[in-house]
């Protein structure tokens, strides 16, 4: 059975987490290099002369930011651990990294608490919660078996070829695009749960690099943006025209 309640939690663990748990990878030279590079990039950038017109603290912030991005690409640790460490580093030294001297000299300005407010602001972002909701919806599809059922029906109809399934997913998202203006709600809440179960019907488990499901995830992610255009462009144009020109 593709979706087995007893094996699901293990299968669900994220790629990053599983990678970190691999004991053999811990001390190889490759891994050392991966861990050092992001820090080295950040330090070297920070030591370079500040470009003209940019305040010192902004340059330091940018250095940390680039270090985090390099870390996210190389993944010496899971992405969440890297992003959280970078964030904490900034929150720890807000006087040098986050705030300008003018801000700091304002009477009553408390850098530590202001920095913490900034650091946690991402967690009150609606998008973060919408994405969380999409994952929980996917969990519901998985636990009830509804996702598997829908996936099986889809595979029965077009499952002879995974490319055809990719087109099926693309079409579904395109059709929904004009009706659900939020791409996250559409692609995350409606399409993703089905795509996720679709991959498992092919007995493709997350974190298995040779998984047939990857083409589906992939298509799911990439096609999404094309549809956004249809839904978003018009609104966006009016907004920006108002902001920029008017």
């Amino acid at each position: 059975m593709a979706i087995d309640a007893s094996t699901t939690p293990a299968a669900v663990s994220s790629g990053a987490l599983a990678k970190a748990a691999t004991p053999t990878a811990a001390k190889s030279p490759n891994q050392m290099w991966k861990a050092i590079t992001p820090i080295a990039v950040a330090v070297v950038l920070a030591l370079l002369p500040v470009p003209t017109g940019l305040p010192q603290h902004a340059w330091y912030f940018f250095s940390i930011f680039v270090g985090v991005i390099v870390g996210l690409v190389l993944e010496p640790l899971p992405g969440a651990a890297i992003a959280l460490s970078g964030l904490t580093l900034v929150a720890l030294f807000p006087r040098f990294v986050l705030f300008s001297p003018e801000q700091l000299s304002q009477p009553g300005f408390r850098a530590p608490s202001a920095a913490l407010n900034w650091a946690l602001s991402g967690y009150s972002n609606p998008t973060v919660w919408l994405i969380f909701g999409a994952f929980i919806l996917a969990l519901g599809y998985e636990r009830t078996g509804l996702g598997e059922r829908i996936a099986l029906i889809l595979v029965k109809r077009m499952g002879k070829n995974t490319l055809l399934l990719g087109y099926g997913v693309t079409l579904a998202d395109t059709i929904l695009a004009p009706f659900i203006p939020s791409p996250t709600a559409r692609s995350g809440g409606i399409i993703y749960p089905i795509v996720s179960d679709l991959a498992q019907v092919y007995e493709s488990k997350p974190n298995d690099p040779s998984a047939p499901g990857r083409v589906l995830s992939h298509v799911g992610s990439y096609r999404n943006h094309m549809c956004n255009k249809f839904a978003v462009s018009h609104r966006c144009f009016i907004q920006s025209a108002r902001r920029g020109v008017g």
């Binding site: 990678k19 940019l54 991005i69 996210l72 969440a80 970078g86 986050l98 946690l120 991402g122 609606p126 998008t127 973060v128 919660w129 994405i131 969380f132 999409a134 994952f135 929980i136 969990l139 599809y141 509804l146 099986l152 595979v155 499952g159 070829n161 990719g166 997913v169 693309t170 659900i180 791409p183 996250t184 709600a185 692609s187 995350g188 993703y192 991959a199 092919y202 493709s204 997350p206 047939p212 499901g213 990857r214 083409v215 589906l216 992939h218 799911g220 992610s221 999404n224 943006h225 094309m226 956004n228 978003v232 462009s233 966006c236 144009f237 920006s240 025209a241 902001r243 920029g244 020109v245």
Partner: protein, 256 residues
Amino acid sequence: MDWFRTSVTAIIPLLILIPLLSYWLYPPEVKHSTEVSKWVAQKLEKIGRLSRRELILAAIVVLSLVLWVGGSAFVSATTVALIAISLMLITRVVTWNDITEDKRAWTTFAWLGALIALCDGLNRVGFVKWFADGIAPHMKDFSPHMAMIILLAIFFVAHYLFASVDAYTTALLPVILLTGAAIPGIPLKEFALLLCMELGIMGIITPFADAASPIYANSGYLPAKDYWRLGTIFGALFLVFFLAVGVPWASLLWEK
């Protein structure tokens, strides 16, 4: 419908090509199987009729769909998601224990919350404005058309530094638009339209480039290294196609 007429030549071909390109650039292990249909039919038989829990979930999904489609005036998309979570918990479609065990959901939550703050910080410390101001003086040496193409390319590539398209729309789009407005000869309406269209294709480049990407990036099917690599390949393809087909087409349309 200006936006539709302008985008159609760049978007429809890409829409058709994307599944095929993904298939070529990131080939699946299982491409087709004749046994699948038979096996699937057996399996469908085995799981039997719709269960009560499935029906409840279906109802919650339909309700969310209705609210997402028609409710944006009085309930935000995120609130709808929270409603769906609550209803799933109340009806015991999922238990709280299930939610605590969902590593993908929590990992993405921790990861994205941190990244959104970090990207916001780049704007807050004035880096973004400095970057955009730095472009303007260099644009004087180019023809208006060339300057427009360069600005469009910069707008696309600079998205590497941003989490979510919304943040980008507020932070960089107005600045780039004003830079364009300062150059005589750039048709402003066309330029604004093209910038907005780019917003739709730039979401692929990083795992946090738009709000749907984190979901697929953290699905476990796309290792980070592959995501960044493919993001760059597809991003480059999209950008080249957009500049080579979309922009000339737009110019053609707007010259009339």
